[in-house]
């Protein structure tokens, strides 16, 4: 294994606001500083990039001191909230803008795909655009020619190949554009959220193609997306950015978990905002999973462990009979709900309620917990994502229990040959 991308002390500064007569003064200062041979005075100032807060300075650091390496053949995901610096990093990697400080060292040919169909001309036919787009992305005419049939085949728009692309449906347009990009012959491929296009079938095709590219051709891929499912499927390792800094570089599952945690500053269940009218009657005091506070810790559960969630509630004297339920979500799909009672029971004062998921039920992955309470008159309180936990993937090397699916099916089903 050798590093093909090495990022060293990378920083990027941006100026906020309008460019106008105000900036010319700064430019002159900077120029004067360079003449005198001193450091740019505006590099010393600048604040971390938090888009929601009003800042003092006109300059912000979109990236500060980024350091990481990517190995050959590795598929690395980059995640982070809007404005964390993902796109800036990709822009610098794809050389559309230069860093303010630091550098990136690269081994091999690099191709970036920050947008599908860059340079497509609406008046040119599909065929002409394949050549143009391919050349813009760095392919030679000969390379494109040799892959032309594959590209057309992959795109599935053969019938329209001699029609101007302005007559294409938006889906066809994107299919063609992605097909070109997928056949790039570069050692390093940089992708920015381009999979969020096309229909389901095509998205799947793209994901498979990306996997194929890294597994079989040994190419290195950097992939930025908000689609955590895709990141999880594709990337071995991931990098989490926040406010222009690297928060975590680790195995993808760990990084995604960290990302979920990072998205909330909540330390206890009583800080979680619940919806519904029942809120006026009761209060959630404490929530633990296997006796650990899932809000302040990154919770990792072994698949052979049972998962015991304990909820402590304080209900005032007027609380009607209630039923408490815990729901489990994975990637926004509700897997199941467990209720403490089949009917409605009255509880007043402080009481606790526990939910258990038996051992060997869940396979590895990240799960979100939702909690709700409801009365017989349909008054309720609910939050479908109060916290998350992760089930570790110890089965990965054990073929017989390879982690397909969400549940361990032998818990509730069986198969027999007759």
């Amino acid at each position: 294994m050798s590093a093909v991308i090495k990022v060293e002390n990378l920083s990027k500064q941006y100026r906020l606001g309008q460019i106008g007569t105000g900036t010319i003064g700064h430019d002159l200062n900077r120029w004067w500083a360079r003449l005198k041979g001193v450091e740019d005075p505006y590099l010393k100032i600048g604040e971390t990039n938090d888009r929601s807060k009003k800042g003092e300075s006109d300059y912000v650091w979109a990236l500060t001191d980024i350091n990481f390496e990517v190995q050959k053949g590795e598929v690395m995901g980059i995640i982070g909230r809007n404005g964390a610096g993902k796109s800036t990093l990709l822009k610098i990697l794809s050389k559309t803008t230069a860093p303010t400080k630091g550098n990136i060292k690269i081994k091999g040919k690099i191709a970036s795909l920050l947008e599908v169909g860059t340079g497509f001309h609406p008046d040119l036919s599909g065929r002409e655009n394949i050549f143009l787009n391919g050349a813009i992305l760095g392919m030679t005419k000969r390379e494109i020619q040799s892959k032309f049939d594959q590209i057309v085949d992959f795109s599935g728009v053969e019938r329209y190949i001699d029609t101007p692309v302005k007559r294409y449906s938006s889906g066809m347009y994107v299919r063609l554009a992605f097909a070109v990009a997928a056949h790039l012959e570069s050692e390093i491929l940089i992708l920015d959220e381009v999979l969020a296009v096309g229909d389901m079938e095509f998205q799947k095709k793209c994901l498979n193609k990306m996997k194929d590219v890294s597994l079989n051709d040994g190419r290195t891929v950097l992939f930025v997306s908000h689609n955590l499912t895709a990141i999880n499927q594709l990337c071995d390792n991931s990098l989490l950015l926040a406010n222009g800094k690297v928060v975590e570089i680790n195995k993808t599952s760990v990084v995604i978990n960290k990302y979920y945690q990072q998205n909330s500053s909540i330390q206890q269940i009583n800080e979680v905002k619940f919806e519904g009218l029942l809120n006026n009657y009761l209060q959630f005091n404490e929530f633990t999973i296997n006796d650990t506070n899932p809000f302040s810790n990154e919770l990792m559960v072994h698949p052979t462990e049972k998962i015991e969630c304990k909820l402590i509630i304080n209900a005032n004297n007027n609380t009607p009979p209630i039923r408490i339920c815990l729901a489990l979500f994975k990637e926004n799909v509700r897997l199941f709900s467990i209720s403490d009672y089949d009917s409605y029971e009255t509880s007043i004062g402080t009481f606790s309620c526990s939910f258990t998921i038996h051992n060997n039920t869940l396979r590895s992955g990240i799960y979100q917990i939702g909690i709700g309470v409801r009365t017989v008159d349909d008054i309720w309180t609910w939050n479908e994502s109060i916290c998350s936990f992760q089930v570790s993937d110890i089965y990965a090397n054990n073929f017989q229990q390879l982690d397909y699916g969400i549940f361990n099916a032998n818990k509730f089903s069986s198969a027999k040959r007759q």
Partner: protein
């Protein structure tokens, strides 16, 4: 420090993306690698311009014909300015043809950054490819207009028996190359300077109009020289000797000094050199300011 340097060499990185390039980094090697793209851009411009038109490239005939007629009326008939012993129509047409090439190249190259920002922001290729493709695309336009001039000359040869064809035509490619280089150099400078502050674009608009009158397009240099004592100023315009040179190449019989081209050549080399340096410097960060 010593150790660090050897370490870098051992790891043999193919590329290092840093804050700045070397000052004399021209990137011509990169352009050569992307020569297929250059050709495709030229093809794209050509196809895209004439898609869904009926007359297609014929449109390029109409503009020089109309301009020639106006010049003929204005300068020849009304102002009575001589045409250096050359027939009036070919005289004006030659000036307009070479001027049009300069104008089209400069207009095209000087908006490189601003009008291609959307592509430049998404993918890297040597930025020089775009202005070079403009120069080449316009060469096609020039060829069409030159064909018109050529047909006019043939017409006069047949009807009036005036034969302008001579060995001096071999000079035409050199003149063309000089126009291309000058407009490229100027265009690169302007496009780089306008990424941040757009003021210059306003100036260029009417500046080019004025420049046409300061270049012997509608009148011969000899006429101006005879008329006023400030006429020597026009020799500082590098386009003067180029246009005169073009007329000499086409018509042969005017009084032309070869060494006046030398001055233009020096200016061109300096402009082009500066242009490429500034352009390459700008391309690194222009996305942040454009």
């Amino acid at each position: 420090m010593e150790k660090l340097v050897t370490n870098e060499i051992n790891e043999n990185w193919t590329e290092v993306i840093g804050a700045k390039n070397g000052l004399l980094h021209f990137g011509l090697k990169d352009v050569w690698q992307y020569r297929d793209l250059l050709i495709l851009f030229v093809k794209r411009d050509f196809i895209a311009t004439y898609k869904q038109t009926i007359l297609g490239p014929l449109w390029h005939f109409i503009q020089p014909v109309l301009t020639t007629i106006i010049f003929l009326i204005l300068f020849n008939k009304i102002a009575n300015i001589s045409t250096d012993g050359i027939l009036a129509i070919p005289f004006y047409m030659s000036g307009i043809t070479i001027w049009n090439y300069f104008l089209a190249c400069l207009n095209g190259t000087s908006s490189t950054f601003v009008s291609n920002a959307s592509i430049f922001g998404k993918v890297y290729f040597p930025r020089l490819v775009i202005p070079l493709s403009v120069i080449i695309s316009n060469l096609i336009k020039f060829a069409i207009q030159f064909l018109l001039l050529f047909s006019v000359l043939i017409y006069y040869w047949i009807t009036l028996g005036k034969n302008y064809f001579s060995w001096s035509w071999l000079l035409i490619p050199l003149i063309l190359f000089m126009v291309a280089a000058l407009s490229l150099g100027l265009g690169l400078l302007i496009s780089s300077l306008t990424t941040k502050y757009r003021d210059l674009t306003v100036l260029i608009g009417f500046g080019l109009q004025l420049l046409m009158y300061a270049t012997p397009i509608a009148y011969p240099l000899s006429y101006l020289m005879a008329k006023t004592k400030y006429a020597y100023l026009i020799n500082y315009n590098p386009l003067t000797s180029i246009v005169e040179g073009f007329r000499f190449a086409v018509f042969g019989n005017i009084n032309f000094q070869y060494n006046s081209l030398l001055y233009s050549c020096i200016i061109i080399v300096i402009t082009l050199f500066l242009g490429i340096i500034v352009f390459n410097k700008t391309e690194k960060n222009f996305m942040d300011t454009v």
